[in-house]
């Protein structure tokens, strides 16, 4: 008998007989509801508490703020999406700027060393965001691949205030993740990479970005 069959066989023929499934009451999760203002405040408070930097900006002037932040953080090059509107707008706005615009336009194998050592920052949009935990929700794709939000030391994320959901549970259910079918990788990001493995002392940027900058467009 294969290991698979042996294991399943033991599980199927329980000594103490079949088990019944208890009911799961999700009310304690679904009753968490906030209004728009509360959601934004909560999101900001939660994500700032884990060391992210949040800027509330308007839909019109967000690129100004971005430029300001890039200069302040002395970012020399920026990895941007080519298709997502956030990327298109950023590229247009920074055309004349000193910041070099980079694109993730080839498989990782072709430029691993460069991505790992020479990219200062990246910018991406998000699919949605979560108020309760201060989290960004991303489904990386061809235009905004997985390593784009992980390898560069600074990650700028652009969030629209109306993308805010109450809870992770609401995201899964209201966005129909199950019926839509899960992507290769779905991701929640809440703050920059961190560790407390050395005597409980927090340190940022251990493997991923040292800084997470969130621009919330209202």
């Amino acid at each position: 008998m294969s290991a698979r069959d042996a294991i399943l066989n033991r599980l199927r023929h329980r000594r103490d007989g079949a088990l019944t499934a208890p009911v799961s009451d999700f009310a304690v999760v679904t009753e968490k509801q906030w209004n728009e203002t509360e959601k934004l405040d909560l999101f900001q408070q939660k994500i700032e508490s884990v060391h992210a930097e949040v800027h509330r900006v308007s839909k019109e002037n967000w690129l100004e703020k971005l430029k300001e932040l890039l200069a302040e953080k002395q970012v020399k090059n920026l990895l941007t999406p080519m298709q997502a509107q956030v990327g298109v707008d950023t590229r247009a706005a920074l055309k004349e700027d000193d910041v070099e615009l980079l694109a993730y336009d080839q498989p990782i194998e072709g430029w691993k060393a460069e991505l790992f050592s020479n990219v200062d920052a990246s910018i991406t949009d998000v699919r949605s965001a979560i108020a309760e935990t201060g989290s960004l929700v991303l489904w990386p794709d061809l235009d905004q691949p997985r390593l784009m939000t992980l390898v560069p030391p600074i990650h700028f994320a652009v969030v629209d205030a109306d993308q805010l959901k109450n809870t992770f549970h609401e995201v899964i259910v209201s966005e129909g993740w199950v019926s839509e079918g899960m992507p290769t990788n779905a991701l929640l990001i809440s703050g920059p990479s961190k560790t407390a493995d050395i005597e409980q002392t927090l340190a940022y940027g251990v493997h991923g970005p040292k800084e997470l900058v969130v621009l919330v467009r209202q």
């Binding site: 304690v28 989290s135 990479s193 493995d197």
Partner: protein, 487 residues
């Protein structure tokens, strides 16, 4: 246990730990901090208790359909392009992983944190077969540099303080000696980045495996888990068969309780959900993803209605953070992969009671573990059950599934208890027995084995309770008579 672990006797290890002030201080400080943080993460007791109810129900629902859910998980993962493997033992799982590595001609493996891989001692196994396995979680990396094992399931290097880590990194990797945690972390980042770039295979654990969608979920703060599962061309995930959950929505409350119970964080930096290898046209991610499902004694635990609760565990570590024994002796003294309360109820199954016989009794049964457990595992009750199993005295568990049952049963002990039971059933025998015991009370030896190691021997009273009660009622009757006579 397997390959390399030298299982040293439990009691000398404990003695060594409690007399080591460094261990005492490091753990005390860390556990106090973790308990405070957890408490702050649950401002509403009502919310906490209701979420625990829900989480326990979710885990039990998954277990109640375990064989079906495992098949569904396999079917969905396979449809998504992930290869699923099954292993009855840790050794089998190691072999499966080695075969995949060999097929890919892999020479170096980079690892995300995985307690199951610790359980099966994967690193040693791969190294014995000429493949280098490097831990990338900072705590695991430190522990590996020190050639030790993790002392906590969430914070592997919690037994070391900054100075010790600085010295270790200096000695093994040539960094400067420094108390600056930022500096040490940045150095480790650099050392590991180079390895990530070159690794042939990434090995990770799994926190939840979702049957409904065929999704592997990983909880982490550092980003090494994401690197491990994205950069190398092959990703192998390894997990115990009990980690499966039924629906995608089930992970939301489990995640919320896991991170808050573990470290008091409202969420970790990353929650990484992987459902397939790199698809056509995608620019990163592994070309191949494998899942190795490991049994290693779990299907045995599954047979028994009471022991089954052990399998609800989501490995948050809260039980050890709150355990007065763990706080004092630290993780290594237990001598097994999983220390603390969860280790005491799990290891006897994985290693056998004959091997782990001391674990269930290494508890004061204070109940703190059961109170904080996010999935409401009645840990104290299970400890008592395993104590019964270790002396095999209880006929309720005759058809037991516990490996090594009766390991603590000693030659004379059952006879003594039989006599004890008989004596208590027969009044005459009882009175004679206790009467004799008081007469020969001077003969009680002052050395009574384990009992007198840290206590004085009990002294029997001059007269038995029955004799005292009898004398008392005679006295009363006499004085009543006297009172009555005076009226």
């Amino acid at each position: 246990m397997s390959h390399n672990q030298v299982v040293q006797e439990f009691h000398p290890r404990v003695h060594e730990a409690i007399t080591n002030p460094q261990i005492r201080a490091n753990f005390r400080k860390a556990m106090d901090g973790l308990m405070d943080k957890r408490q702050l993460a649950f401002p509403s007791d009502d919310e906490l208790q209701r979420t625990r109810e829900l989480a326990a129900a979710i885990r039990l629902r998954a277990l109640s359909k375990l064989p079906e859910l495992l098949e569904k998980l396999e079917a969905n993962l396979t449809a998504n392009g992930v290869k699923v493997h099954w292993a009855e033992t840790g050794d089998e799982a190691c072999k499966i992983i080695l075969d995949i590595c060999n097929e890919k001609n892999a020479k170096s493996v980079i690892k995300g944190k995985s307690m199951v891989s610790e359980e099966m001692e994967l690193n040693h196994y791969l190294e014995e077969h000429g493949i280098e396995a490097l831990e990338s979680d900072l705590g695991e990396y430190i522990v590996q540099l020190a050639e030790e094992t993790p002392s906590h399931i969430i914070m592997p290097a919690i037994h070391k303080n900054t100075d010790q880590i600085s010295d270790l990194m200096h000695e093994k990797t040539g960094t400067n000696k420094s108390r600056d945690v930022e500096y040490l972390t940045a150095e480790a980042r650099q050392q590991l980045r180079e390895r990530f770039e070159k690794a042939d295979v990434g090995v990770s654990g799994v926190n939840f495996a979702v049957a409904e969608t065929g999704t592997l979920c990983l909880v982490e703060n550092e980003g090494n888990g994401r690197l491990t599962t994205t950069v190398p061309p092959v990703h192998i995930a390894v997990t115990g068969i009990e980690k499966v959950v039924e629906n995608l929505e089930d992970v939301a409350p489990l995640l919320s309780l896991l991170t808050r119970s573990a470290t008091g964080q409202h969420i970790t930096t990353y929650f990484n959900m992987i459902s397939s290898p790199r698809k056509e046209g995608e620019l990163d991610g592994p070309e191949e993803v494998h899942l190795v499902l490991v049994d290693s004694g779990r299907s045995n635990i599954y047979q028994d209605d009471e022991l089954l609760d052990t399998l609800r565990c989501i490995r948050c570590g809260a039980c050890m953070n709150h355990c007065p024994v763990y706080t004092r002796i630290g993780g290594h003294a237990y001598g097994y992969t999983y220390p603390g309360p969860i280790g005491k109820i799990l290891m006897p199954h994985l290693a056998g009671l004959d091997d782990a016989k001391d674990l269930p009794s290494a508890s004061s049964l204070c109940g703190a573990c059961g109170e904080v457990c996010p999935v409401k595992i009645p840990i104290p009750k299970l400890l008592v059950r395993l104590r019964e199993e270790s002396v095999a005295g209880d006929h309720n568990h005759d058809n037991s599934v516990v490996k090594g049952r009766g390991a603590k049963r000693k030659g004379m002990e059952p006879l003594i208890w039989k006599g004890w039971a008989k004596m208590h059933k027969h009044g005459g025998l009882y009175r004679t027995g206790t009467g004799l015991a008081t007469v020969f009370r001077g003969l009680v030896p002052s050395n009574l084995g384990a009992w007198t190691n840290c206590r004085t021997a009990p002294k029997l009273a001059k007269t038995t309770l029955h004799q005292q009660m009898k004398a008392r009622s005679q006295n009363n009757a006499a004085s009543q008579k006297k009172d009555g006579g005076d009226q």
